[in-house]
């Protein structure tokens, strides 16, 4: 009896499982379709431009002209500013640490000649 019920349930379970599988696959397909529909299209900049005629650069409207020199100069200047700004920052931080070291060495007792550097400030018996 139990076996019969279980078999019946199994039968229903199989049908239910199949239905759920079908639903899950349909849902996944729908989600995939939505995702691909919603995905960003290939940017226009990544597609090669269609050239139908040659236009001399001086005939381009002012807003479409993009001279490269300012960009090149900007790239070089930014690298300079970052590199030497970092050196300046480094020297400031080093000065601060040296001030700390000087202040600490004034507070700490002067170690004997035979003291190792790591034991500065230890109480002498």
């Amino acid at each position: 009896m139990t076996r019969h019920v279980s078999a019946t349930n199994d039968g229903r379970g199989d049908g239910g499982r199949r239905r759920w599988t079908v639903r899950a696959v349909a849902l996944a397909l729908a989600a995939g379709g939505l995702a691909s529909a919603g995905a960003a299209p290939v940017p226009a900049a990544m597609q090669p431009p269609v050239i139908e005629e040659f236009v001399p650069i001086d005939e381009l409207p002012e807003e479409d002209r993009l001279p490269a020199a300012p960009f090149l100069i900007a790239a070089y200047s930014i690298v300079w500013v970052l590199a030497f700004g970092y050196f300046w920052l480094l020297s400031r931080r080093q000065s601060a640490v040296e001030r700390d070291l000087a202040a600490l060495s004034r507070r700490l007792p002067v170690p004997d000649d035979d003291d190792t550097p790591g034991t500065a400030g230890e109480k002498q018996p």
Binding site: A45, A83, Q94
Partner: protein
């Protein structure tokens, strides 16, 4: 300013500065690239920044690995120094890239695989620095793991242009540069490397001094 070895960094700094100052003259002698023209010369500032960033990541990752598995505090200090320099050169690459892209591709940021992975790599090392600054005790080990992760990401970033073909030129461009372009490129790489070595040495020295101050404060507090 002197390094722990007693050598002054000013010689290296002078070499790097002179080479970098002369770079525009050397680059001006290089021929224009056929499709990009003048804008193509941003290449000489952009690509060396990434090369040096990858070198800095290698130093940071290796030193972090040594600290993680061998418990070497001096390796940890070198890793911190290299991580900061990594972020700096990454910033250079992330700023010069869009300047080049705007002229050559017509877009500041194309969100292609290479640019996105490069941005993630930069954020990886910013996360490293934030972890070191605000992470509290034990953050050195976590950060070391992060640095190793960043180091293993480098080949993926480098080879991404070959696997996913996008706007970025493939990795074959630099090895196949003609001599007239290769020499200025090498000049710039060496100039960047000289600056990198000075920065790394100076930053490492700072970290050593900070460790000395901490040790002295501990000794002072124990008195």
């Amino acid at each position: 300013m002197t390094w722990k070895t007693g050598r002054s960094p000013f010689a290296s700094l002078a070499v790097g500065t002179v080479m970098f100052a002369a770079a525009p003259v050397v680059i001006a002698m290089a021929p224009y690239e056929a499709t990009m023209g003048l804008a193509g010369k941003i290449f000489y500032f952009h690509v060396p920044a990434w090369i040096v960033m990858f070198a800095a990541i290698f130093v940071c990752g290796t030193a972090s690995g040594i600290h993680l598995f061998r418990e070497r505090p001096e390796a940890d200090r070198l890793a911190v120094a290299a991580a900061e320099v990594t972020v700096l050169f990454g910033l250079m690459g992330l700023i010069t890239g869009p300047l080049w892209g705007r002229v050559s591709w017509g877009t500041w940021w194309p969100w292609d695989v290479r640019t996105t992975l490069a941005l993630i790599l930069e954020m990886n090392f910013i996360a490293y620095l934030l972890l070191r600054k605000y992470g509290g005790p034990g953050s050195d080990k976590l950060a070391a793991g992060l640095a190793l992760f960043g180091m293993f990401n480098v080949p993926i970033v480098y080879l991404s242009v070959n696997v996913w073909r996008t706007l970025h030129p493939p990795t074959t461009v630099v090895p196949n540069l003609p001599l007239t372009m290769g020499v200025p490129f090498l000049w710039c790489v060496l100039a960047y490397l000289a600056l990198f070595l000075v920065m790394l040495g100076g930053r490492r020295q700072l970290e050593e001094q900070r460790a000395s101050v901490d040790r002295l404060w501990l000794a002072y507090d124990e008195d």
